[in-house]
């Protein structure tokens, strides 16, 4: 069936609500308004205001309430409009959700799922455009999911809800309108492994979420230049599927990490470090990185584009790595 990424997410929420009466969705404008990015449109009519629960503008309050409800045996899905606003709830996410299990000596699980939009590309300026999922991947106790495909948009939620620990799902804003074929029987997917979206033998292009389409595009063009690139979609930023990353790099001997986050202290730095720690002698070139410019994302189109990883930059980094002598 034809589906957009947005519809696939909605199908995942509907499915979870039907499977388990303990599942409910709460967040700002998820009900009457229909969701700030229209993900939950129509669900209020289907499930009612108890389970599609509009909240006031109180990110710290309702994320904390989600943690409490999870402790109390419910299976909440909390929606935060965008990752920038999740910073108002950072205390609850880091100091409570991520820490309670360990701090309580294993007594209290927090089976909470938090969904939020991330990323730039829509001229929304510095307070609505950042990619902070890599930051969250720094926090032990959290699982970080970054669905880039329709199957993952549809299937990651239920698996996340079955996880006894807090899971954050980052939906890149540029993906909502992406449409394609989704199997009628599409359902839950694993949330442990990275996926090879395009096999190749010359170089591993490692990415996730919003930059996957650009990386696939770059890989196609590189094929025309005689560089056969493998494209790896991380799918989960924490815990990282190190085995799949290392297996790919061990085959191709070259790697470029593409990440819309900033370069310094980032998930791309982490991946590069893991490769050099574990596969250094298999490398024929230094690990390359393509990240966003280290600036708050600007409003004007040309400046925003200049700040974000581009297909050209990805190709240039791949060429450089491929050209390096082994």
């Amino acid at each position: 069936m034809k589906s957009s990424y947005r519809e696939a997410l909605r199908a995942g929420i509907r499915d979870a609500m039907q499977r388990d009466p303990g599942v409910f969705l709460m967040g700002e404008d998820v009900g009457i308004y229909g969701g700030s990015f229209a993900v939950s449109l129509g669900l209020l009519e289907e499930f009612g205001p108890e389970r599609i629960r509009d909240t006031p503008l109180s990110e710290s309050g309702f994320v904390g309430a989600g943690i409490g409800a999870a402790l109390g045996g419910m299976r909440p899905i909390v929606e935060i409009m965008t990752v920038n606003f999740s910073l108002l709830a950072l205390d609850q996410i880091v100091n409570n959700a991520a820490s309670l299990l360990h701090m309580s000596g294993g007594q209290f699980h927090v089976p909470l799922v938090i969904r939020m939009t991330t990323g730039a590309g829509r001229q929304l300026g510095a307070q609505h455009s950042h990619s902070l999922e890599g930051w969250y991947a720094h926090i032990p106790g959290l699982r970080i999911l970054v669905p880039a495909t329709l199957e993952d948009a549809r299937g990651m939620l239920w698996t996340a809800l079955e996880d006894p620990d807090p899971v954050l799902i980052f939906e890149h804003g540029s993906l909502y309108n992406v449409a394609g074929e989704l199997d009628d029987n599409a359902g839950p997917v694993d949330i442990d492994t990275a996926a090879i979206r395009r096999p190749g033998s010359d170089i591993s292009l490692i990415t996730y979420g919003g930059t996957l389409p650009a990386v696939l595009d770059a890989a196609e063009q590189l094929a025309g230049e005689g560089i056969d690139a493998e494209v790896l979609d991380l799918r989960t930023l924490r815990p990282l599927d190190e085995a799949t990353i290392l297996a790919s790099v061990t085959r191709t001997h070259r790697a470029v990490v593409v990440d819309e986050g900033w370069r310094s202290g980032s998930i791309s730095a982490e991946i590069s470090a893991r490769i050099t720690e574990n596969a250094f002698y298999d490398l024929d070139a230094p690990v390359g990185r393509v990240c966003s410019a280290e600036v708050p994302i600007p409003y004007s189109k040309h400046m925003e584009l200049a700040a974000l990883p581009s297909v050209e930059q990805i190709m240039a980094a791949a060429r450089e790595a491929a050209g390096a002598r082994g």
Binding site: I32, P56, L57, F85, L88, L124, G125, H128, V295, S300
Partner: protein
């Protein structure tokens, strides 16, 4: 709590009435132009217009001195304009051009202007309140008699930063005027669906802050209440709070299908259009002739159309400048 003094209204000086009408018309025409330019794909990103709420900014900003500070939200084009930022610089900003008040880096939600002490343009709901408290703290510590005015929507009342800011301002007796623009909806969430206590002035009073609710469609009432509040703040009376009851006539942003309110409700509020209200009462009092009104409209139109020309002639900031201003530029030793 309604303003105990709201009954005492001094007679309107026609000159001043016309000035307030012009101020509101300038905002109205700027905003209508913005909507048009958004449809024409000249302006991008999120765009939030202030149509229907003009009396609030016009009435309050009228009472400030040049050294006072203003903090606003993403619905701030009108505040910027009435604070003295040139309409051309505002529009050029929304076009993303270097001639904009933030070089095109901020856009519609992030207008800033140091010359007029306009501290933005904040797109995090309630994010401006702590800033306003700090600006007022600086004024108090430096012994300056400035006032900081902070505008925010009623949606912000649910955020922790609202409560933390009111408490700090009261605790330290800071020279800040909080102006809550209560337009009844935060995106699609009606006030009654987000607050257990919907009397907002009462919440402020809970922090020992003098607070009044004011008819935000009546620019004269707004101005009078703001003048008394600003005078009190400036003379060391500590923080004050105005709840300005108003309504946004348009959608929350350009992406809002308005599923949460009835058309009839919008129409009811439009009958209290702040511009029409003042215009009619002045006409009835014989203070506004047909030609006066035509002249005001023509003046506003001329300004906005010149601003569009200015923006249209704008240029892109060179991409090489992208990493400028992440850190302060220091002159060589």
């Amino acid at each position: 709590m309604t303003d105990p003094m709201s009954a005492t209204r001094s007679p309107l000086d026609p000159e001043h009435g016309r000035h307030l009408l012009l101020q509101m018309l300038r905002v109205r025409q700027l905003e209508e132009k913005c909507v048009e330019l958004y449809s024409a794909v000249k302006i991008r990103g999120f765009l939030h217009v202030y149509i229907g709420e003009e009396a609030v900014a016009a009435g309050v900003l009228e009472t400030l001195s040049p050294d006072d500070a203003v903090v606003a939200t993403y619905r701030e084009h009108g505040h910027a304009l009435l604070r003295g930022v040139a309409a051309g610089a505002i529009l050029a900003e929304m076009y993303g051009y270097a001639e904009g008040c933030c070089r095109g880096r901020g856009g519609s939600m992030h207008l800033f202007d140091a010359a007029t002490h306009f501290y933005g343009g904040n797109a995090i709901v309630a994010g401006g309140l702590p800033l306003a408290v700090g600006l007022a703290l600086a004024d108090k510590m430096a012994g300056r008699s400035n006032v900081t005015v902070c505008f925010f929507g009623e949606g912000a009342v649910a955020e922790g930063e609202f409560h933390e800011s009111l408490n700090l301002a009261a605790l330290w007796q800071l020279p800040v005027l909080f102006c809550c623009e209560n337009n009844l909806y935060a995106m699609g969430t009606a006030l009654g669906r987000s607050e257990s206590q919907t009397d907002i002035a009462l919440k402020a009073a809970g922090y020992e802050i003098s607070a009044w609710a004011v008819d935000g469609m009546d620019v004269l009432a707004v101005e009078e209440a703001a003048r008394r509040a600003v005078d009190a703040v400036r003379s060391g009376g500590g923080p004050h709070f105005l709840e300005l009851r108003t309504y946004r006539f348009r959608a929350h942003s350009m992406f809002d299908p308005e599923r949460y309110r009835e058309k009839a409700e919008v129409v009811r509020w439009q009958e209290r259009d702040p511009i029409t209200l003042l215009r009619s009462s002045m006409e009835a009092a014989g203070q506004l002739a047909e030609e006066d009104w035509a002249q005001l409209q023509a003046d506003a139109e001329a300004e906005i159309s010149a601003a569009v020309d200015f923006a249209e002639a704008g240029t892109l900031e060179p991409v090489e400048e992208l990493t400028r201003f992440v850190y302060s530029e220091r002159s060589a030793p």
